[in-house]
């Protein structure tokens, strides 16, 4: 077995020991050598002392998803040693801390087990308890560097960038790297048959997580009010927005802030604040996760009916109820699509990666203000909190945000009378006014029955008139949401239809399947309502595999409900154990389904 730039490293540690920075250093070093990487963090809902894993896939091909194989396991956690040993793919390697004896029962003949006395070496070289724990992590980076032939100069550069003026930290880290590196070269045959080699595939790319990209997107979209209640896995989105605002939105002369972030008492209040700010003309948003959507539902329905622009980021986690807060899923599609009592439906956006989180933040605000309705960006824990390689984020300085149909003081001066909910243009979108602009623009925003003029009503016809007009607006939304990504060839009668973070695994699977002469077309839905192009795509196929990360086939339901798709064609492929999707799952499912077809 000899492979270059195609290796999966998994590091098993205990959370709270500082392994995150060691793992980040390792991944960035490989990235800086020009080799594409995928990073996945599996962490517990806990602060310190529970098992955590970090998985780095080195992929010269530039794939975006995880795989189920593990070539190199760094087993630093005695608590999970047994399962970590079992997880290594045949022919792979396991590195453990040989400071302490290991039970003979814990062995496997089909893999290579290497012991490195990491604790002993670090205890001998470092003085404090904290340094010994931290440096043990850096030392395993040294071991991996030797085994995979990672360029030490790149690691040195990264360390000096990270610690800049703190020379003693650079020296200590380098010493730890050296300990691991030298031990490995002296005791094992380095490099291994699987190794890395510099290439040129990461130029113009970055490594970023989706929450950071979305927070940055909100700054670039011109959002000024952020209201939120902390909830995993969305918290880092507001953290990112805060830190970018501190960098870009402080008045140079006065030090005043050109933004307002409010940590609310709960999600009920957070969404109320978003509505209040949007009603008053500011771009406002809230990041949350599934349980937050449940609490926000009443207000989301209000915003739909009273037509208040609202932007929500739902970084989905495994449900229902509390579920598994630190694991990923795409399980909020239905609740978001139809949040609230009564007849409501909402515009959704489905980013597939951090790059799309950045751009879709802007799209979300544009659509919310254009359509005067809630827009929810449905990211997930995998996108939001894991490290993805993406093309550099770019901005066009000529971009003008779409603030929608808002009448200013001059326009109000000219109109005879302003009517809040009148469909003047035939697109189902009325004109709105902002408080504090002109007395003629005043109206009473209410969730109770109202006429197209904005007045209160309990009249059957007047009520129905407004809710029917909202359906016209829904059809306008269908033409405005981002178009799906479609790969179509007349040759193929079967297709995969998916959304969001399934994209990487699906595309890799398509590639693998084509090698097995299974040709499939591809459609990745980027928004809800379902566009005409997606409907037509489904119509053109005999069989469409609907791939999604939830138990109840929620995307498939949306296709049937909103696009009137023929449900007999839609075959579900459901992955919902909380782990990010792998391409092998998709390949297996497709092969299983296609062989069924042949047997019949």
């Amino acid at each position: 077995m000899s492979r270059v730039n195609d290796v999966v490293i998994k590091i098993a540690t205990v959370n709270g020991t500082g392994s995150a920075s060691a793992n980040g250093l390792l991944m960035k070093a490989i990235f800086r050598m020009g080799i594409p990487v995928v990073g996945k963090n599996y962490f517990p809902s806990n602060i310190q002392g529970l098992p955590t894993w970090y998985e780095i896939r080195v992929t010269g091909e530039g794939y975006q998803s995880r795989t189920d194989k593990i070539d190199l396991m760094i087993a630093m956690n005695a608590q999970t040693y047994k399962e970590d040993l079992a997880a290594v793919s045949p022919g792979g390697w396991l590195i453990y801390d040989s400071t302490w004896p290991r039970s003979r029962l814990l062995d496997r003949a089909d893999i290579n087990v290497f012991g490195v006395p990491l604790s002993r070496m670090c205890n001998e070289h470092f003085d404090t308890a904290r340094a010994r724990i931290l440096m043990k992590n850096i030392a395993y980076v040294g071991v991996i560097a030797a085994l995979l032939d990672i360029d030490l100069e790149v690691i040195k550069t990264l360390l000096s960038e990270t610690f800049a003026s703190k020379k003693h930290l650079i020296d200590a880290n380098l010493e730890a790297i050296r300990l691991g590196y030298d031990y490995a070269t002296e005791n094992f045959s380095c490099p291994l048959p699987v190794k890395v080699e510099a290439m040129d595939k990461t130029k113009g790319h970055i490594i970023i997580d989706g929450n950071t990209a979305a927070g940055l997107g909100c700054v670039y979209a011109g959002a000024t009010v952020g209201a939120w209640y902390p909830i995993t896995p969305s918290t880092s989105l507001m953290d990112a927005y805060t830190s970018f605002c501190q960098r870009y939105r402080i008045d140079e002369e006065t030090g005043d802030k050109k933004y307002c972030i409010i940590q609310a008492e709960d999600e009920l209040a957070a969404i109320g604040m978003v509505l209040g700010a949007a009603w008053n003309g500011a771009r406002s948003f809230t990041p949350t996760s599934g349980p937050g959507i449940s609490l926000m539902s009443e207000f989301i329905g209000f915003a739909y009916y009273a037509e208040v622009p609202t932007v929500i980021f739902d970084v989905q986690r495994t449900g229902p109820s509390t579920g598994m807060p630190t694991r990923t899923q795409q399980c909020d599609l239905m609740i978001c699509a139809y949040a609230s009592h009564g007849d409501t439906k909402h515009v959704l956006l489905f980013p597939a990666n951090p790059e799309e989180c950045f751009y879709m933040a802007s799209t979300a605000f544009d659509l919310a203000e254009r359509l005067q309705t809630p827009v929810m960006v449905l990211s997930d824990l995998d996108i939001g909190m894991n490290d993805w390689m993406c093309p550099d984020l770019k901005w066009d300085d000529n971009h003008v945000p779409d603030r929608g149909k808002v009448l200013n003081a001059e326009q109000l001066e000219e109109v005879e009378r302003f009517h809040r909910y009148l469909d003047v243009d035939g697109d189902g979108i009325p004109y709105r006014t902002l408080p504090g602009v002109h007395g003629k623009g005043a109206y009473f925003t209410r969730g109770s029955g109202h006429t197209k003029y904005g007045g209160y009503t309990e009249d059957a016809t007047e009520y129905q008139d407004v809710v029917d007009r909202l359906l016209v607006k829904w059809e306008t939304a269908r033409t405005l949401v981002p178009e799906a990504e479609i790969q179509y060839s007349k040759m193929n009668k079967q297709a995969i239809l998916t959304l969001g973070s399934c994209d990487g695994a699906a595309k890799e699977a398509l590639h693998d399947l084509s090698k097995l002469n299974v040709g499939l077309n591809y459609c990745r839905v980027k928004g809800f309502p379902i566009t005409k192009a997606v409907q037509e795509f489904i119509d053109k196929h005999d069989r469409v595999y609907v791939l999604e990360q939830n138990r109840d086939a929620q995307l498939r339901s949306l296709l049937i409900l909103d696009a009137n798709a023929d449900q007999n064609k839609l075959v579900s492929m459901l992955h919902y154990n909380g782990l990010p999707l792998s391409s092998s799952f998709v390949v297996e499912q497709v092969l299983k389904e296609t062989s069924k077809g042949q047997a019949a």
């Binding site: 009010v225 050109k258 207000f299 300085d397 009473f444």
Partner: protein, 351 residues
């Protein structure tokens, strides 16, 4: 409730305020509440206060939740935007609105059910943020729209129409607000416009959270014998401990006050509140004294009214957050967007 436009009739000699507007210009649509409802008197007091202050109608924002009280913003200042939100959630909507535009004057109208039961959480937290707003609780001890259930402000032993006496301890919004750090706390009675109007003016001009708890009897469900929120009971037991006169910035204090009995407090916009102590023991600038006095009075079955506490030294939410003076909603996009070159520079952080 139906929507009835009020005919606009204005006498040519009607008094005009500094903007040249008459009181009629501050009216709204016709109330659809029960005849004799205390809430309508409060609406009238709000109209008078806003008119006399000379607030530009479109610079007022009228906020509410759900309930009889929350309907009333439709009945005043028709040229101001109104937001009749979700039950118990007026505070959060107002917080967001204020975050976006700090130039407007915010008046929120709520009830005892809307604020002290379903909205207790938001009521508490809007006080903690010292949001710059006037928060009126039209307090009648019952749920009107759902026909007479007790609210959280109903007193122990109070009897509403067709109900057994209430046995649960009431939540008193005034002592709650004192405990949570509110910076302007007043209580009044819908039947006492003379006291109410200056209290509303002071609350609107106070830079921070101003609570006005107004006992406002429900004529349909809670104005009977045995109710502690009836007109008769309130008239009998309410006790003016302190009156407050509101003096606009341009005017001098002209009224004659007795030495030791009056105390002026200057508000941020230059206007003044002059306290007239009717009870010598009372000090409206001491939170501890106010709390203790209030608890004693509850024990004695007295409903003490007046401007019970004021502190002009605490900054509002924006002052705490360090927000720019210009309303966030008015900042142009090019000021908010860092631009392409900054983004290009930032990318190096992620390699």
């Amino acid at each position: 409730m139906s929507y009835i436009a009020k005919p606009k009739v204005s006498h040519p000699k009607a008094p005009r305020n500094k903007l040249g507007l008459t009181e009629r210009d501050y009216e709204g649509s016709v109330s659809t509440l029960c005849a004799g409802c205390g809430h309508d008197s409060i609406t009238a007091a709000i109209i008078q206060a806003v008119f006399e202050l000379g607030i530009e109608p479109h610079m007022l924002a009228k906020m509410s939740g759900i309930g009889c009280s929350s309907k009333t913003p439709a009945y005043f200042v028709h040229q101001a935007h109104g937001f009749n939100s979700v039950h118990g959630r007026m505070a959060s909507v107002t917080t967001g609105a204020n975050a976006a535009n700090r130039e407007l004057t915010y008046i929120g109208v709520s009830g005892d059910g809307d604020s002290l039961s379903i909205g207790m959480g938001q009521f508490a937290h809007v006080i903690r943020r010292n949001l710059n707003m006037c928060y009126v609780i039209e307090n009648n001890g019952v749920y009107g729209l759902t026909k007479g259930q007790y609210s959280a402000s109903a007193d122990v032993g109070s009897i509403a129409k067709k109900a057994a006496p209430n046995r649960q301890m009431p939540i008193d919004p005034v002592s709650t607000a004192i405990g949570l750090g509110a910076t302007y706390i007043a209580r009044s009675f819908s039947g006492d416009k003379h006291q109410l109007v200056p209290l509303i003016k002071g609350a609107l001009m106070h830079e921070g959270f101003a609570l006005l708890d107004v006992i406002s009897p429900c004529v349909t469900f809670n104005d009977n014998e045995g109710s502690t929120k009836s007109y008769a009971h309130t008239r009998k037991h309410f006790h003016h401990v302190i009156d407050a006169d509101f003096i606009p910035p341009s005017e001098e204090i002209v009224a004659a006050y007795n030495e030791g009995e009056s105390m002026p407090v200057k508000l941020h916009d230059g206007s003044k509140i002059v306290f007239r102590k009717l009870d010598q023991q009372y000090d409206p600038t001491s939170r501890a004294a106010a709390f203790s006095f209030l608890r004693d009075s509850i024990h004695k079955g007295e409903i003490i009214t007046g401007l019970l506490y004021i502190d002009e030294s605490v900054g509002d939410m924006h002052s705490d957050a360090g927000t720019v003076e210009t309303p966030l909603s008015k900042l142009p996009y090019d000021v908010l967007n860092p631009g392409a070159s900054e983004l290009a520079k930032l990318m190096d952080r992620y390699r």
